[in-house]
Structure formats: C-alpha cells, structure tokens
Amino acid sequence: MKTIVIGVIGADVHAVGNKIIEYTLNNAGYNVVNIGVLSSQEDFINAAIETNASLILVSSLYGHGEIDCRGMREKCVESGIADILLYVGGNIVVGKQDFGHVEEIFREMGFNRVFAPGTPIDNALGNIQQDLGE
C-alpha cells in the first residue's frame, strides 16, 4: 500500500477539501498521512520522509499558493527525497488567471502535476494510479 502525504500549505485554513481528500484516498486504497491545514513545506517533507511516502499532495485554496510553494522542490532535494512526486491543486493562485500560465509557473517550481481550480480529488485518482503504478 503506497503512502500519500496530504495537507494544506501556508497560512491556509481551508479544511473541508482536505478532509474529503483524506476520505477519498483512503477509500481508493492508499495509506494517507494527513498533516492538516496551516502546514509548512517542512511539515510536508518531514512527514514524507518519516512515512516513506510516494507522493506529496499539496492543497492550496486561499490564493497564496504561489508564494507558499516556491522552493519546495529544492527543499525536497536537500532533504534527500529529490524524486518524490509533488502534486498541487485547489485554487492555487489569486483570482481567475489563465491556467496554462499558472501551470507553467508551478511546473517550473518542480511540481509534477498541477490541477486547475475546482478539480475534485476524484478526477485526480486516475493520475495518481498512473503515477504510483498500481
């Protein structure tokens, strides 16, 4: 059973999606480690190292995602989990922006998959299965 670390980054307190993601991923047969809201990059990385996770699934709903996610890949590299899968989704930037451009920004930061606003977790299950190879 593969492990996925989930949580909400930064000063973000949106908790509903996070609880639903935990429930959905559990149902889909993953071992879910939920670090909850108001989590720092370090919180995510430490949890991933401790639990030998295959994927860090970052939620950012409140708009500061761009600031909060910068340098996360670099920190993963420093911490010895350079190749861990990084997903980000929710409402990751401020306002309604061209998503192509937003995706590019987060890809350049080193995120493997970047999800458009309002993509429910169910729609990402296929990607997760594919990437975790099960």
Binding site: V13, A15, V16, I20, G63, H64, I67, G95, K96, G118
Partner: protein, 488 residues
C-alpha cells in the same frame, strides 16, 4: 490573565494596549492616540457610520448589501471599493489577507511589496496592519458609505486599533468565530481574551459617544453547519461583546439552502439574541442580522453562480435580514475581478430591492422550524452555562473541550470534530452523528428520524458518504447529494 466574562477595567485595558501597539511598527503611529482617534471618529458623518446605517435599515425593514473585497495595493483597493460603491454596495468591506490574519506581518509585507512590483496581487486581501492608519484613513476618506474590516484573525487587537482609529465603524469577528474556522492551534481562551480586548476597545469608544458596530462571523466553516450551532455561537459572542460595552451587534448566519430553515434560522437568531441579552441584563442593545449568501463550494459555471447569488438574495430578503453579504460569479475559481464582484452586488441589490415589500409568510412549517432551532439553542446554551458555572466565557471553552458544542469541518484543535451533518429529505441540515453534542434525547431522536427518512428514500445506509455527497451537491447544482443514478 484568567479568562472570565467580565468587563476589562479601563486601566488594565490601557496597560495591555501599550503592548499591543508595540507588536508592529504601524502601532506606534500617534494617530492611534485614543484622544486623537476619538476626535477623528467624531467627524464621521452619520451616513458613513455602520451602526447608524444598520439601525436605519432595520427600522425601514430593508436588506442592505455588502460585498467582500480586498486587494493588497492601496490605490487598487480604493478603486475597487469605489467601483463596488458605484454598483450599489450599501456597505463596503476591506477583506484582509491571510498572513495578516495570522499576524505574520513580515510575510504580508513581502507579498505586498512583490504585488506592487509585478503589478499582480499575490496576497488574498488588504494588509491593514502593514498599511497602518494613514492608508486606512485614505481608504475611508475615498468612499461614501460605512466600511468594515472582514478578516478571520484570532488576535486582531492591533488590527482593530488601526481600523477604528481610521474611521472604520465596524469590525467582523469574535473569539470563537474567528478561531474555530480560522486557526489550528490557537487555544480558545487566548482568542476569546484577544477579542474581549477588541470588544473593550469598541466599548471605550461607545462610552465616548461613538457608535461602532460589531459582527460575529456566523457562517463558521460555511459547510453544512446546523443553524442551532452557529446561532448558539452568535449568542455567546453577542453576550461576550455586550459585557465589554459593545452596543451595536449584527449576528450572522450562512445560508443552508432550505428556504424555510434559512428564514427560520434568521428569525430565531434575532429573537434569541435579544432574549439572552435581556436575560443577562444588557440594556440598550441594538441588534441586527446578517445573512451570508451560500458559503460552501460554488458552481464553476458563472451563470449558475449568478443564479445561486440571486437565489441567496431572495432568501435574505424574505427573511428580512438587515444585511446581506454577496458573492461573485468567480467564487469557485478565485478572488473576483472587480467587475465580477460588481455583478454579484448588482444582482443582489436587484433582488433585495425587488422583494423589499415581501416577507416569508407565517406557516406551521416555518413556526415548527423556528421552534426546533430555538429548542436546540436553549439546550446548547444551558450546557455551556452549566459547565461554565454561569460564566459564558469559561463555559464556551469547556463546552468545546468536551465536544458539547462542535462545528463540522473546523480545522481547530479546540474543536472536537465529532459531529456529522447531512441534509434531510427537504434539504434541511440535520445531524447524523452527534459526538458529544449537548442535545437532549428528544432532539437527537428528531434528527435521527429525519436522516433515516432520507437514507431510506435513497435506499442506502446512514454514513459519512451522505455528508460527503452533501458537501459537493450545491456546486453540482443540487441541494441534496442524492446517490447518482447508475445508468444501465
């Protein structure tokens, strides 16, 4: 400091105040000198005073509209507010960014600076504290209607000092409603003590003849919150505020989706708030209500979002709430452009104007829902007072600890998080899992029956899946998250 529901003596307040003002450099501004502030606030004309305008609306039986809005840069923020005023907003907000809400002024400054540099908002609101009194006064002086700070800040003491001294005559929040949905590990005692300070500040001004409105945040997590739970918290915060000398309070409620339940909630909220304030002998209180348009996940389609905004507005109008907080067609995507925000204001204004001479007809269904909510609130408040030995402040902390009161989906560690809400067959919000919630058996039985009816009609077990389906349903265009029909 030990928590209790007791007015902070002025001397003590002023002593704490010294510390508060030191917490960020903008606190040292001489415009924050209380005599200066009182002088400035005395120049605020009636039509720009939140409390006075609310009182008028209540007297006329009209529902006034206020959007949410806030961008980091001063000029852009002022233009945004001017635009919304043109669209018909009766009250203006300044929604504060999330770093400021967590008192992370350094990050807020970074976000503000970079936003100015790249000409694109990186913060999700207007960082009031970083802007300080001078800028906040500029905001106030650029508009022609009352203005309120809207945030979600467990420790909003400096923020409150700055906004009131700048002529902003309303402050949203409260020790519970700005902690439970907005924080993870701030102890409830702490946020309540902090908000007693904010209320005491308003009381200070009130004693000097300056009317300031306070608005506890009714919707909480915005997600399937049973009316009796949010109403109970509203009443507790009203009592806490009244003790500190606040006189003008707007208690709030976030739309649930069932018309009768929503109207019942506002009506029960209004009567019970007054009842409890009277019971505890707070006199000359001015109570109004605020109805929040649908606070859960919005539909992506903009015409659907507009429809939901309009529907929410009709419920508000029929409930005769004094104020309506509007949303925008961009809600599900991100902070709205000012145009999108304006569309929401215009649609909302249209409906409340159109329905201003109508209200919800009295009916047995409405009456029984009002009575239901009242009975539940009485039950919860009794429990709170009991564990607080009559002190509402101590009681609420203890009640949360024991899960006697519990808010669904809240991120806070102080919240038990054991109850599960779901809709009944009419779409009314009920509870399927009570945890330790202080409902009596009769009430629990009522909820159980209602949820059973629904589960039976859908031919499925009662489980968390009901709740999950109901979390998604409105954004998918239904009120009740019925199981999807499997096509054969």
């Amino acid at each position: 400091m030990k928590l209790q529901n007791k007015k902070i003596p002025e001397a003590e307040f002023l002593k704490i105040r010294e510390e508060v003002l030191k917490s960020w450099k903008t606190g040292l501004d001489s415009q924050l000198d209380l005599d200066n502030a009182v002088k400035y606030l005395k120049t605020v004309p009636d039509y720009k005073n939140f409390a006075i305008k609310l009182n008028q609306a209540k007297a006329n039986g009209t529902t006034l509209v206020q959007p949410r809005a806030g961008v980091p840069e001063l000029d852009v923020h002022i233009k945004l507010l001017n635009y919304l005023e043109e669209c018909g907003a009766d009250f203006l907000p300044s929604t504060v960014d999330s770093y400021t809400r967590q008192n992370r002024y350094i990050e807020a400054q970074k976000g503000l600076d970079e936003s100015v540099q790249i000409q694109r908002a990186l913060l999700n609101g207007f960082p009031v504290v970083n802007h300080g009194v001078t800028n906040c006064k500029k905001v106030f002086e650029s508009i022609n209607v009352p203005i309120e700070a809207r945030h979600g800040t467990p420790d909003a003491r400096l923020l409150s000092e700055i906004i009131h001294a700048s002529g902003w005559t309303s402050n949203e929040g409260g020790g519970i409603s700005y902690n439970i949905p907005y924080a993870k590990s701030v102890p409830l005692e702490v946020s309540i003590i902090n908000w007693q300070y904010c209320d005491r500040l308003v009381g200070y001004y009130e004693e000097r003849g300056i009317k300031i409105n306070r608005e506890p945040f009714g919707p909480l997590t915005g997600t399937l919150v049973p009316a009796s739970i949010s109403n109970t918290i509203m009443i507790v915060e009203a009592l806490l505020a009244a003790e500190q000398g606040v006189k003008n309070i707007t208690v709030g409620y976030g739309m649930g989706g069932n018309l009768i339940q929503d109207v019942a909630a506002i009506k029960a909220l209004y009567t019970q708030t007054i009842e409890y304030l009277e019971k505890f002998n707070y006199e000359n209180m001015e109570i109004s209500t605020v109805f929040h348009q649908w606070m859960g996940g919005f539909p992506q389609d903009e015409s659907e979002a507009m429809a939901l905004i309009a529907y929410s507005s009709s419920v508000a109008a029929l409930s005769k709430a004094t104020k309506l907080i509007s949303k925008s067609p961009h809600e599900s995507i991100g902070i709205p452009t000012r145009e999108a925000n304006g569309l929401g204001v215009k649609a909302s204004k249209f409906i409340v104007n159109m329905l201003k001479d109508q209200s919800m007809a009295d009916s047995p269904e409405l009456e029984s829902e009002i009575n239901q909510i009242k009975a539940e609130v009485d039950c919860l408040l009794n429990a709170i007072l009991k564990v607080g030995n009559g002190d509402i402040a101590i009681g609420i902390v203890e009640a949360f600890k024991q899960g006697l009161i519990d808010v669904p989906f809240a991120p806070s560690n102080c919240n038990a998080g054991k109850i599960l809400p779901a809709r009944d067959n009419d779409g009314k919000i009920r509870i399927l899992e009570f945890g330790n919630l202080a409902f009596n058996d009769e009430i629990k039985e009522f909820h159980r029956k209602k949820i059973e009816e629904r589960a039976k009609s859908e031919n499925r077990e009662i489980s968390f899946q009901l709740t999950v389906d109901d979390v998604y349903s409105v954004s998918e265009g239904k009120l009740i998250g019925r199981p999807k029909k499997v096509r054969v």
